[in-house]
């Protein structure tokens, strides 16, 4: 074994604590070699082991009658009926995307796609939840624009070439993401229920086969990088970022799915974070077997690579599989057809150990289970969630609705994201019934007559004000988005983006957000089937807002979607759920507070989950019965912005709102109270009847009209705008920033 001396410095460089090192020594019964130290350091990194969050993640609901596979595999799996299942998951690629935006985001897409097809499912949709620093920041604006452009073209480059439609997501700008952009990528695939594969090694004596790209020195210690805060030196970590090749991934997809059909594959896992290390020990651990590999047989792109480098490389587009002994040739034949390397590099053994050899000599020998599943587990101290804003806001100035709405629709979070999504192929495979710009994306499953709706949601401002309520609101909104397109929410995946968990006030944010998310997912019956935790999102000690993002999927019968666009003038406008309630404290997290008042205070909007559920039951029935011509849920920006968005989507039809309320106009029009949906309809009585049956208010608030948006409150005109003029601002602002 390697004789490099293990010094306290070396241990610290590997981000292992002295106690963790002691545990390694006790597992091995000896000092580790340098290679073994590297292997432990990546497997026990925060990114791979969830050592700070695992204890709390157990509080999330993971079971349900449609759940075929919950957390612990490469992706969660849900039964969608007719013999088919969907596999889906969300992952973050935050740290690499800051260091190298294009490749960071591209390989983020590549990694999550492999997680899906390693389970036997063909990816049919991708969505992205993105957060950047402000584009017009005087100091960091140029860098933030460069990161935005790089991330978007990286996602486009990878997804477009691979041939998966990128159908939606969210983009938010906030200065807390200046040094820590968030790139969360969600992917979803479909396969026959009988064709699901698991990442489990089995059958002593079976060959372990390496397929796909050759191993190089790229990405070494990527997982550890993702588990530390950024400092001034972080830019030197650029070589830790991997480089993606979407064409190779496409070949890998087709070859893997075809090879799976031979019946000769026992188990398969992609090499993502921690590469060969993670795939070998996790497959071994899940199957309660050992795995022995010979590094000389691993296809290598560079010469002279050490065992340490080969085991820790995060070169992309690689897979590890276990085949039935004697049937290797059937597997090799498929990979040859697709022009890919497929090499037998080892064998499944009965001793439960990961044994790594080079030139016939053992360079690492570690028990799989201890390495993969018995990473240290921390109950990190948590106090009160960090929050540096007051509960009471400023005295609200007299509102100017006429100027506020144009300012809001031209603000970073609310403006059209067309410049982004137009760079994505959102149509390939011809299944996209609703794509970017819809409340939820809808992808039909051609084989079954069922469609899958999906939505990504999160709100860092809400979560900063109250991590628990913010997480609950994200779940409620995601479910509402699905219900608004007529889908029944069935399962969720989550991506938890937080700062440094070693700070008790940050750990408190994480704990409360997980508890809130768990409570809401339990209530809405959307078990979490997997996800990702991204911690240490801090640069120079400044953390991001706690940003729990949830991706929820729903099911519906395949049919033409209702959409958010007003379709005809002269239709009744109905606000399902009513005008809602809001006081000044609950107004502090809104877009109005951010854009117009440039402040943050108080608490997020109040959520009444029972009412939310009733509203969602009602809207599903309304949409599925075809009673509405358009339906759009109210979220960021509140009622006025929602009405404007329906008009923008139509292009010509606007609205006249006549509101009867005592609320101040700013609160009335821009509060973000949940559980509300704006409908246009030719059948208001039928909608009222459905609403009554569900115990939900269906308030008539006006009519659709040609060319303009007008808002009146008790006979007083608050504002009036030409649709085309307002829409031009909405459409062009993002593009004008990035050009």
């Amino acid at each position: 074994m390697s004789t490099a001396a293990i010094t306290p410095d070396l241990i610290a460089q590997h981000q292992l604590t002295p106690q963790e090192y002691e545990k390694i020594v006790s597992i091995l019964g000896r000092e580790p070699s340098y290679t073994e130290l590297g292997i432990f350091s990546v497997m026990w990194s925060e990114h791979c082991s969830y050592k700070s969050s695992r204890l709390h993640l157990k509080k999330l609901p993971t079971r349900g009658k449609l759940v075929v596979q919950g957390p612990g595999e490469n992706a969660g799996i849900i039964d969608i009926g007719d013999g088919y299942v969907i596999a889906f998951k969300i992952e973050s690629h935050n740290h690499p995307s800051f260091i190298e935006p294009f490749q960071g985001a591209a390989t983020g897409v590549g990694g999550i796609l492999r997680d899906i097809f390693t389970m036997g499912a063909r990816p049919i949709a991708v969505m992205d939840s993105l957060r950047f620093g402000s584009l017009d920041d005087p100091h960091n604006g140029a860098r933030n624009r460069r990161i935005l452009s790089g991330v978007v073209s990286g996602i486009a480059h990878y997804g477009n070439c691979f041939g998966v439609p990128t159908v939606g997501g969210e983009t938010v700008f906030e200065s807390c993401y200046d040094g820590n952009p968030l790139v969360n990528v969600f992917a979803l695939g479909v396969c026959r229920k009988d064709d699901v594969f698991y990442a489990k090694a089995a059958g002593v004596g079976n060959p372990v086969i390496y397929v796909g790209a050759r191993t190089g020195r790229d990405g070494i210690h990527g997982a550890s990088m993702a588990s530390a805060e950024f400092t001034e030196e972080s830019k030197q970590k650029r070589p830790n970022v991997q480089v993606g090749d979407p064409f190779l991934e496409k070949l890998l997809l087709e070859a893997c799915l075809e090879a799976m059909q031979t019946g000769a594959i026992v188990g398969i896992q992609d090499m993502g974070a921690a590469g060969l290390t993670c795939s070998t020990c996790e497959m071994g651990s899940r199957g309660e077997v050992g795995v022995e590999i010979e590094l000389d047989r691993v296809p290598q792109r560079e010469t002279g690579m050490t065992p340490y480098e080969i085991m820790l490389s995060e070169s992309q587009e690689r897979m590890l599989l276990v085949a039935d002994k004697g049937r290797e040739e059937e597997v090799f034949r498929v990979f040859r057809k697709w022009g890919l390397d497929a090499v037998e590099i080892g064998v499944v053994t009965g001793d439960g150990k990961l044994r790594v050899k080079q030139h016939g000599e053992t360079v690492a020998e570690i028990p799989n289970r201890e390495l993969a599943d018995e990473a240290p587990l921390y109950d990190r101290p948590h106090t009160q969630p960090l929050r540096r804003v007051p509960m009471r806001g400023p005295a609200l100035p007299e509102p100017n609705v006429q100027s506020a709405l144009p300012a809001l629709v031209a603000s970073g979070d609310l403006c059209s994201k067309r410049w982004i999504w137009q760079q994505y192929d959102y149509l390939v495979r011809s299944n996209t019934l609703a794509g970017p710009g819809a409340d939820a994306a809808i992808i039909r499953i051609k084989e079954t007559g069922t469609s899958v709706a999906m939505s990504l949601d999160g709100n860092g401002r809400y979560s900063y004000l109250s991590p628990r309520e913010g997480a609950m609101l994200a779940v409620a909104e995601s479910c509402r988005n699905l219900s608004t397109v007529g889908a029944r929410p069935v399962a969720a995946t989550n991506c938890l983006n937080f700062g440094n968990p070693e700070r008790p006030e940050i750990m408190a944010q994480l704990v409360e957000a997980i508890e809130g998310m768990g409570e809401a997912c339990r209530f809405f019956d959307t078990p979490i089937t997997g996800g990702n935790v991204s911690l240490y999102n801090e640069t120079l000690g400044e953390g991001i807002y706690p940003t729990p993002v949830v991706g929820i999927v729903g099911l519906l019968k395949t049919a033409a979607p209702t959409g958010i666009a007003f379709r005809n003038a002269g239709r009744s406008l109905v606000l399902l759920g009513g005008l809602g309630v809001c006081d000044e404290i609950r107004f502090g997290g809104t877009q109005y507070a951010k854009v117009i008042l440039k402040q943050l205070w108080g608490l997020p909007p109040a959520l009444d989950v029972d009412r939310e559920k009733r509203v969602q039951d009602a809207i599903r029935e309304i949409v599925n019965e075809g009673l509405a011509e358009s339906a759009h849920d109210l979220s960021d920006g509140g009622l006025a912005v929602a009405a404007a968005e329906c008009a923008f989507s139509s292009g010509t039809i606007g609205a006249r709102l006549d509101l009867d309320s005592d609320l101040r106009p700013d609160l009335l029009l821009f509060h973000e109270g949940p559980s509300r949906i704006l409908l246009s309809t030719a059948q208001p009585e039928k909608i009222a009847e459905v609403a009554r049956r569900h115990g939900v208010e269906a308030l008539s608030i006006g009519v659709t009209i040609e060319k303009a948006v007008e808002i009146w409150q008790r006979g007083k005109l608050l504002g009036k705008w030409e649709v085309t003029e307002l829409k031009t601002r909405y459409d062009q602002v993002l593009e004008s920033h990035v050009r």
Binding site: F247, Q423, L427, S430, A560
Partner: protein
């Protein structure tokens, strides 16, 4: 009628083409692998969208050397119908079956959206079912779709009535708004927009059917 859809390793709209032709139009379809030296007994060939061999060098620059392209050239020379969509158009141009080049969009960005097309001619097996007085809504999805050729070639295309489709609003900087062209013999057409992705009400438009219906009508006449 039997359509052959060529599958390069990086083709990704092959499924879309197959679905449109078989499920929507109820025609027979055969997939033809890129290293086949023969096309079998198909009546028409579709080169689908995608990234043939990754297209890192130049779109279609490697595909033109693939074994199947020799077969496609022979098929075209014998008068067979060849339709190249998006990447397929790029490959036909690289292979010399159509004139000009497809260069990066003027925006330098990939662009995916619906566009309106106007038929440039109805005198072709790909547009004979089209009406000149209306427009067709079909999506585009490409990064290198800006049609480029020298003035003489462009004049020749127009003089010989070989512009199959034009953009109503040019999305990529194509010269003379060209979205699709024909070869001199009029049995080979390349177009950047995706008619296969506009063949059902659920796709938001059925206007792409006109291309396939034209081909079927032309094949019946032949």
């Amino acid at each position: 009628m039997t359509f052959g859809v060529i599958v390069f390793p990086g083709s990704n709209r092959d499924h879309d083409a197959v679905y449109a032709v078989s499920n929507v139009l109820q025609q027979k379809v055969e997939l033809i692998w890129h290293d086949s030296a023969s096309l079998g007994s198909v009546d028409a060939v579709i080169l689908p969208g995608g990234f043939s061999y990754g297209d890192y060098l130049r779109c279609g620059a490697i595909a033109k050397f693939s074994p199947v392209m020799s077969a496609v050239k022979k098929f075209a020379a014998d008068g067979g119908l060849v339709l190249g969509i998006c990447n397929g158009f790029q490959i036909l141009v690289e292979a010399g079956l159509l004139p000009g080049a497809l260069i990066r969009n003027r925006s330098l960005q990939f662009v995916c959206r619906e566009v309106e097309l106007r038929p440039g001619t109805t005198d072709s097996p790909f547009t004979c079912a089209a009406k000149r007085d209306r427009t067709y809504r079909v999506p585009i999805a490409h990064g290198e779709g800006c049609y480029f050729a020298d003035e003489r070639t462009l004049d020749e295309l127009e003089a010989e009535d070989r512009v199959a489709f034009r953009y109503v609003q040019n999305p990529n900087g194509s010269l003379r708004d060209i979205a699709g062209i024909l070869n001199r013999e009029r049995n080979v057409m390349g177009m950047m927009p995706h008619p296969e992705d506009a063949t059902e009400p659920l796709m938001g438009s059925c206007d792409g059917l006109v291309v396939f219906e034209s081909m079927i009508a032309a094949a019946v006449r032949a």
